[in-house]
Amino acid sequence: MTGKTLYDKLWDSHVVKEYGDGSALLYIDRQLLHEVTSPQAFEGLRLAGRQPWRTGANLAVTDHNVPTTDRSQPVADPVSKVQIETLDRNCAEFGVTELGMRDPRQGIVHVVGPEQGTTLPGMTLVCGDSHTSTHGALGTLAFGVGTSEVEHVLATQTVVQQKARSMLIRIDGQLGPGVTAKDIILAVIGRIGTAGGTGYAVEYGGEAVRSLSMEGRMTICNMSIEAGARAGMVAVDDTTIDYVRGRPNAPTGALWEQAEASWRELVSDPDAEFDRVVVLHADEIEPQVSWGTSPEMVAPVGSRVPNPFEEADPVRAQAMHRALEYMDLAPGTPLTDIPLDKIFIGSCTNARIEDLREAAAVVRGARVAERIRQALVVPGSGVVKQQAEAEGLDRVFTAAGFEWREPGCSMCLGMNPDRLEPGERCASTSNRNFEGRQGQGGRTHLASPAMVAAAALHGHFVDVRQLP
């Protein structure tokens, strides 16, 4: 008999009942809630006269709609205001703990969970948000669900799941200087495509992943969904244990000892077999920039916008034509020649302390280029913001001409007032370059925090490795 993968172990320890068709009723240890995908779930409970199965297993945070400007002011957008207040009201009514807009711990749900120790290794965790895959970095089985499933988890603490196939994405060797976790995951998506991981649970491994901090691992797991995989995960090691120790909701004392011993088992057995293995060599990964309207439309910074006429597959060629038209780009244009209008450093992909440190290191002592209309830094949480301020990073950014904002999802999806105007082009540390994602008619280029920071200073992308 072959060994178990990390995914097998997490799955097996949470099966309440097998249905015999590959699906099972899976126990959910933790659910994170936010204001956009929860109102209809709470309403469903109310209409059916149901109570949460285990209230304490839920934590709510407002993040998608919140303004990133002065929080002492009321929310200006009346529709956003209703949604935020609906979450407040639902949490009060059902007794769910909420980190509301004015709580110092408030932030993006996928930054807050790990930071507070609400996410722990070995858990199953869901949230009505596709970037829930982020939490897999802690050796957690974490995936996004729809609102009906949010309600199902609230009411039963379980969800019916089809077991996925397993994929190992192994990044061998060491990353070169200036190349980061974001470049790894963009390169992976460029390789396997946005549907490459569909139907799979992905484990990331190899020397380059083992060498990453928890923040870097979260960046990679976060964008599993951009590769089509609902769940991404990294095996537990010292980095994981050191990150979790001392978090506000992490176990302590004897319970910690017991938990740690159990978490150490959360690795794929040496003889475990994966349904698919993808190998990339870290030393071949260069800083990446997306040029199109799908995260798979990505290329090394030193390359040019590709030519759809050279694409053999007609469906892909058509998608490329459409993307270049939307992005207003001509084939053959060097990626470093594309002029930018706005800069966004933030999102659940890249708004943790390490991301801000990387960006600040590039920015220190320089100025945002003339042509940039707005450059935003939006910390992932109140805790990240405080830490950054304690390190003086806020002053590095503001001295250079960036705006230093309050935490939230912000311009990653523009549900709050932070968004692109039609035709504006943005270098962004976020995760999606879909048409209209950052604002109707807006054009998004995805890259790492260091690359986006450097782009802010030059008004176009530059290769961070070539900076003095």
Binding site: V16, K17, Y19, D21, G22, L25, Y27, D29, V36, T37, Q40, A48, W53, R54, T55, G56, A57, N65, V79, S80, V82, Q83, T97, T118, L120, G122, G128, D129, S130, T132, V145, G146, S148, E149, E151, H152, T156, T158, V160, Q162, A164, T194, A195, T198, G199, I225, G228, P251, A259, S262, S294, V315, R316, Q318, A319, L413, R432, F434, E435, G436
Partner: protein, 218 residues
């Protein structure tokens, strides 16, 4: 939930790969706290030439004449024929809510994104995976014949063309049952599995007590 057994309807072809849920229902409409009323804003940025906002009356908004759902021959379509990786991106259930509210009951594509696929079943929409070649043939057939209809039979798990040709499809037993009977999945779980869930929790409290210490803590 509305049960689904057999459905015959007009087919609309959406000839793009990787249609994401941001395109199906843009972010500004996600601010609604309701489950209904999203239909008029389905594919808002592709369907209209102006910028849509929640609550807007769409009757007189300028339409994009090139967008497939604005063409006269596809009015009343209830079967959407699409390309690979349909529904990728965000987990927003607003996407199937909008498709359902517009009138779609069946989606046909070579592949769907996982979360979206799952969300469809919760809302009485049947997403059907056919292979690339079959989908390509259906695109040609729809373009060739105005008023082209397909019959989708869930009990038999097949899609039947007007000429009587049938394409088989897969669907797992649990989802099929929920959809056929239009069951409230939460009600079913509570009724059939409450004891199993409690037994699981009891065992886990022994094995991994730290997972239960959250109760009552901020």
């Amino acid at each position: 939930m509305e049960p689904f057994t057999r459905h015959t309807g007009l087919v609309a072809p959406l000839d793009r790969a990787n249609v994401d849920t941001d395109a199906i229902i843009p972010k500004q409409f996600l601010k609604s706290v309701q489950r209904t009323g999203f239909g008029p804003y389905l594919f808002d940025e592709w369907r209209y030439l102006d910028h849509g906002e929640p609550g807007m009356d769409c009757t007189d908004r300028p339409r994009n004449p090139d967008f497939v759902l604005n063409q006269a021959r596809y009015q009343g379509a209830s079967v959407l024929l699409a390309r690979a990786n349909f529904g990728c991106g965000s987990s927003r259930e607003h996407a199937p809510w909008a498709l359902k509210d517009y009138g779609f009951r069946v989606l046909l594509a070579p592949s769907f994104a996982d979360i979206f696929y799952n969300n469809c079943f919760k809302n009485g929409i049947l997403p059907v995976v056919l292979d690339e070649a079959e989908v390509e043939r259906l695109f040609q057939a729809v373009y060739a014949a105005e008023g082209y209809q397909l019959t989708v039979d869930l009990p038999e798990q097949r899609v039947v063309t007007p000429g009587g040709e049938a394409f088989a499809f897969e669907v797992d037993a649990f989802r099929k049952r929920m959809l056929l009977e239009g069951l409230d999945e939460i009600g079913v779980t509570l009724q059939e599995e409450s004891a199993a869930i409690r037994a699981y929790e009891q065992r886990r409290r022994q094995e991994a007590p730290w997972l239960f210490q959250e109760e009552g803590r901020p």
